[in-house]
Amino acid sequence: MTIDLKTVKHISKLARISLEEKKAEKLADDMNSIFEFIEKLNELKTENVEPLTSIAETTLRFREDKITSDNIREKILRNSPEKNDDFFVVPKVVE
């Protein structure tokens, strides 16, 4: 199996990473060599194996639906690249 340039561009769209043409070609090469190495898994028959989703054999705990953090709105907003009063600002979404 090979990953072509078209697929790389499609994946970069899904991953929301813009990609220059030259870099896309290099990335396709890298991904192909990595997947060549990953294909080794196909040697194994796994029809009857249960997938391992979590190593911690616990069920997720529930907690009370209660606010436990202090009022840190100011501190949170301080990290924002662009803000207006108490809001995060993004480029215009609706025309």
């Binding site: 990953i3 697929t7 790389v8 994946i11 970069s12 899904l14 991953a15 929301r16 990473i17 813009s18 990609l19 990335l27 890298d30 991904m31 060599s33 990595i34 190495f37 990953i38 294909e39 080794k40 898994l41 196909n42 040697e43 194994l44 796994t46 194996v49 249960e50 997938p51 391992l52 989703t53 979590s54 190593i55 911690a56 616990t58 997720l60 705990r61 907690r63 840190i72 501190k75 949170i76 301080r78 990290n79 924002s80 690249p81 662009e82 995060f88 993004v90 480029p91 215009k92 979404v93």
Partner: protein
């Protein structure tokens, strides 16, 4: 007396408790040495002024009952520290100042530790040489232009160079043990679920685990005791009875059964690694352990499994970096354009590569072929260990397939870089505890490590074997301070 910075953590604590050294004196020594060691590029953010101030406060009101009384400690820059910049080695978090503290660092401050600074690492902990950091390469104090390993490369470098008495790293596929092996230091990855992940910048959540890095085994046991705790804020934190690792530490390992997995004898493994392993087996026998040959048949499938599971989880975890609420933002004509430009400029090449792999294996039509397949093989790898542990108490292997390499030597070939983690990755996939201890040198005099892998939650046995073997091996790092002006 000897230089304060060359003391072990245990000795430093003892001297502080006996009032032979004050916290401020100790802090000054580490700050001075760190100031003279900028060429190593181990720090991303220094906290020296504040650390000196807090050490004085400690000395004015000392509490010697604490486990880390007034001890300055630098930590990997993957742990969120309240009001202190936390970058994860990435441009996208260059200006990020957390408003909360990771549980592990909080545990350290609660026991009297003081933040000395934040240490360089591979970007989002993705790398084995610290070369993927936005903040540049880190030098290995062992020799010039040698990588310190990764991803906890700033941690291993600072520790080996005596810039911090002890440190913490994180380990997703070997990121504590491999840099420890490359710098002649000790690094322990605990059982998944024993040290809280709360406040650690996430890479691959089912594999990430933080742990101690130190100059000797005893120091790791002291630090593990502080950082290992059940934490409600981490949904996979496990509530089990934790040992008093340092006081229960013993060199008596008579009758302990240690397994030697034949599959770790990989093709093309250098003779010096093979010989180191053989010597390790002799040391273990000298310590009173019984050596048993075992088989872990799916070992060769661990790396391919890891390079599906880890990027898949990473692509999902790193979706949060969108330039909206924190971190870098690039300007774009529309919201989507802004996202795409921010992530393209904010992430480095290796991180983008892994996000792309992860997005691909999770994308429609490929999920079953890759991600589900990998999870099934992960089960087989775990079962190998489960079966081995019916026969043995622990497993002994080399830590890495080679010693430290030169900066730039492997950075153009991702697969050859990934092979570095061949002996450490299976341990993360199975969620087990593993330690790397320095055990010898190669022909260039670069350190080599041995890995001891334990049963889940049995850090004590892992530490005891390491403690016992450490005495027999009697390895001493030989650092020339070549980087000093």
């Amino acid at each position: 007396m000897t230089d304060i910075t060359s003391l072990s953590l245990f000795e430093l604590i003892k001297n502080i408790k006996e009032k032979k050294i004050s916290s401020n004196e100790a802090t000054k020594s580490f700050v001075d040495r760190s100031e003279k060691s900028k060429k190593l590029n181990a720090y991303v953010t220094e906290n020296f002024e504040n650390c000196l101030k807090l050490s004085k406060e400690f000395d004015n009101k000392p509490n010697y009952d604490l486990k880390l009384p007034g001890i300055p400690i630098a930590v990997k820059d993957l742990f969120c520290t309240n009001e202190v910049r936390t970058t994860a080695g990435s441009n996208i978090l260059n200006n990020f100042v957390p408003s909360y503290e990771s549980t592990i660092t909080q545990n350290i401050w609660n026991e009297g530790g003081i933040l000395l600074g934040k240490l360089n690492c591979d970007e989002f902990a993705m790398g084995s040489s610290n070369e993927t950091s936005f903040f540049g390469n880190v030098q290995n104090p062992i020799a010039k232009d040698l990588v310190p390993g990764g991803s906890s490369g700033g941690s291993s470098s600072a520790l080996a160079a005596n810039l911090t008495p002890v440190t913490i790293g994180t380990d997703t596929g070997g990121s504590i043990r491999q840099p420890a092996s490359f710098t002649g230091t000790v690094g322990l990855k605990p059982t998944y679920g024993s040290c809280s992940r709360y406040g650690i910048v996430a890479f691959a959540s089912s594999l990430d685990q933080a742990g101690p890095m130190s100059k000797n085994v005893k120091d790791s046991s002291i630090l593990l005791e502080v950082i290992s705790s059940f934490d409600k804020k981490d949904s996979t934190s496990i509530d089990f009875k934790r040992n008093n690792y340092s006081s229960e530490l013993t060199r008596n390992i008579k009758g302990i059964k240690i397994g030697i997995p034949k599959e770790y004898r990989v093709d093309g493994m250098p003779d010096e690694i093979e010989n180191l392993w053989k010597k390790g087996i002799e040391y273990a026998k000298d310590c009173g352990a019984e050596i048993i040959d075992i088989s872990l048949p799916h070992t060769s499938y661990a790396l391919p499994t890891y390079y599906i599971v880890a990027p898949a989880e990473a692509s999902s975890n790193l979706a949060r970096y969108d330039g909206v609420k924190y971190g870098l933002r690039s300007s774009g004509e529309s919201l989507i354009d802004m996202y795409e430009k921010t992530r393209s400029e904010g992430f480095g090449e290796e991180v983008k590569r892994r996000i792309m792999i992860g997005t691909y294996v999770l994308s429609s039509g490929y999920y079953d072929a890759y991600y589900l397949k990998a999870q099934k093989v992960r089960q087989l790898i775990k079962k190998d260990f489960d079966e081995a542990y019916n026969k043995v108490d622990a497993i002994l292997t080399p830590s890495t397939p080679s010693s430290a390499f030169k900066i730039g030597e492997k950075s153009n070939d991702p697969v050859s870089m990934y092979l570095n983690d061949i002996f450490t990755v299976p341990v993360n996939l199975a969620g087990l505890p593993g330690i790397s201890i320095p055990a010898g040198r190669d022909k260039n005099n670069y350190p080599l490590g041995l890995q001891i892998i334990g049963k889940p939650f049995d850090e004590q046995t892992v530490l005891n074997i390491a403690y016992s073997m450490e005495e027999k091996i009697n390895y001493k790092n030989n650092i020339s301070d070549w980087w000093m002006e």
